[in-house]
Assembly symmetry: C2
Homo-oligomer: 345 residues x 2
């Protein structure tokens, strides 16, 4: 599957649509109804037609597909301030192009459900942006057969080489965060990871390890605690790390929300940031500047990433996408504020 591949010629398409109808034992208009996500098709018929569309690799000709001036934006979850930065980026591009944004949440599951895919087929957006949210095989086939391009932003899993995706240099970010702590003189540096199924989280922790190893410092597995990118898990992992007898003097918190949870754990234990504990976050959400002390963090250009994803998906839709890179990583950068300092004497 490659959204940037040129479409088949008309004759092949027409033959295929007719063939699919014949093979499914239905009329051509019924196949059209399925393609348009219409509700008035029996579920069994629809399943049969979808399977045939997929096995034939059918792709709707763009000319016959009337688009709605919409971009679909799908989140794994809408819980965090993180999501707002992404929404703003997509809105910026949509506004410039006279498009509106349809927002969905896959409600914690990493693959949006069938109902969502049906709705997308019915409303025919210009393109789909999936945030931290993959597409299963049938979802991909459904979008492909309707010629609806899609892009994955900051993929949770490995999206596959043929899926266009936009990310950030997570590994370099983890490296820069940890090197900063090493340069300040810290030797016992902890880390709180995100969910292990998310590639961005693995990459950050690997960058942390690389910084320790290249500095000749040991990597102590007891200092790496699992989190889920939420405040609460930073608090819990923070209490564990800070209550241990040989506690770390600095922690790379994995993201900003976990860093704020870690702040709370430190406050509860009477430890001052940065005098007793240095903390580095990841993301640079607006709140990172506002907390006390202002948080040293790795800036991830979320709004720019979302803008790039929106522009890429529209390019793919205009079929100028043949040369579009399938994976773009925008640079992260360390922002030093007041939560990091030398280790306690």
């Amino acid at each position: 599957m490659n959204p940037s591949k040129p479409l088949n010629a008309r004759s092949t398409q027409t033959a295929t649509l007719a063939e699919i109808a014949r093979e499914a034992g239905v009329s051509a208009p019924t196949v059209s109804k399925v393609l348009n996500g219409r509700a008035d098709v029996a579920p069994a018929t629809r399943t049969r037609v979808e399977e045939l569309l997929r096995s034939y690799g059918y792709r709707r000709r763009r000319a016959e597909a009337t688009r709605s001036p919409l971009i679909d934006l799908v989140f794994h979850e809408l819980e965090s301030a993180w999501a707002m930065e992404v929404i703003r980026g997509v809105e910026n591009v949509a506004r410039d192009e006279g498009l509106s944004v349809v927002l969905s949440e896959s409600a914690g599951r990493l693959t949006p459900g069938r109902t969502w895919a049906d709705q997308v087929a019915a409303r025919r957006p210009y393109g789909v942006i999936l945030v931290l949210s993959g597409l299963d095989e049938s979802g991909r086939a459904l979008l492909t057969s309707r010629s609806i391009p899609f892009v994955v932003m900051d993929p949770a899993g490995d999206p596959g080489d043929d899926v266009p995706s936009i990310g950030a240099t997570n590994w370099h970010g983890g490296l820069a965060a940890t090197r900063h702590l090493v340069e300040l003189g810290h030797t016992r540096i902890g880390a709180i990871s995100g969910p292990s199924r998310m590639m961005c989280s693995r990459a950050r922790v690997d960058g942390y390890r690389a910084a320790l190893e290249t500095a000749g410092l040991p990597v102590d597995p007891a200092l790496i605690r699992p989190g889920n990118f939420h405040h609460e898990s930073g608090y819990r992992a923070g209490l564990e790390l800070l209550r241990s007898p040989d506690r770390p003097t600095a922690v790379f918190a994995g993201n900003d929300l976990q860093a704020l949870g870690l702040y709370e754990a430190a406050r509860e234990l009477g430890l001052r940031v940065p005098e007793d504990l240095s903390v580095v976050g990841f993301d640079d959400l607006p709140v990172a500047r506002w907390v006390g002390p202002p948080l040293t963090t790795v800036r991830q250009p979320l709004t720019e990433m979302a803008e790039a994803a929106a522009r890429l998906v529209l390019e793919l839709g205009r079929e100028q996408g043949a040369s579009a890179a399938t994976r773009v990583e925008l640079a992260t950068s360390l922002v030093v504020r007041s939560s990091t300092g030398a280790p306690p004497a």
Copy 2:
């Protein structure tokens, strides 16, 4: 205009559509095209038809209007974590009803532009929720003539008695915040307002005044500073208040983001919260629990308000809306955390 009024009978409607076409000197299908937001109508013709639709008070019969399974959600601005709470509420209801949410930003203007209205007319959502964002006369007429119901959430201005709206008890919130400070023994209490054109902001400051007056304390205009509900304005107003010779010992910050700006101003001047300065916010965003010290604030049930707005607009669309209250205010409540205490001795 009253979205909850029963629709006219069929005969009247048909006559009116034909009449409008005749009077505009166009065909009935052209009037339909205008109603459907189609692009292939000359701008002058469209304007003429819109004016006639409006002056005749034309309302499309619901049966002939095919709806898209969408709810339109329009924000004044998407800058704040505030917006995420609202989006979640609307998403909750939409998901239960099998609808998707179209998100727009009126880009800082308080009335969404004409392009937006055209897009809404073309996509025919089940309903429109306007957040802190009014509708001008022509926007209302446009939605009304298409029988697209709308609800205003937390109106910035006075939405008018005939516009269904959902808000919170802002006045009581300002009262409760300030009474809490009075009860702690404060007598010099400052306030930072939001934009004066927003009714919610005026109501909060009026609640603050009422608390002082009923406690027999003077209202000092020099202690009330204007803000715009953003962090930066809380910081600037905070510096002004805290640098004055007879500085307040407590401040009602108007909202949580301004409270965080005030924290920063206090830190910069070496004042401790709450030992030297008590601070109360408004909203109870997630970040209020995470900052140091955790913020005493007035909880506004944003997600529940958004859910109520979504349910109300869907009810209006189902024409069960005849009995729908045109103005619902959900209760605010004071949440006492660690940013408030007795005044310095």
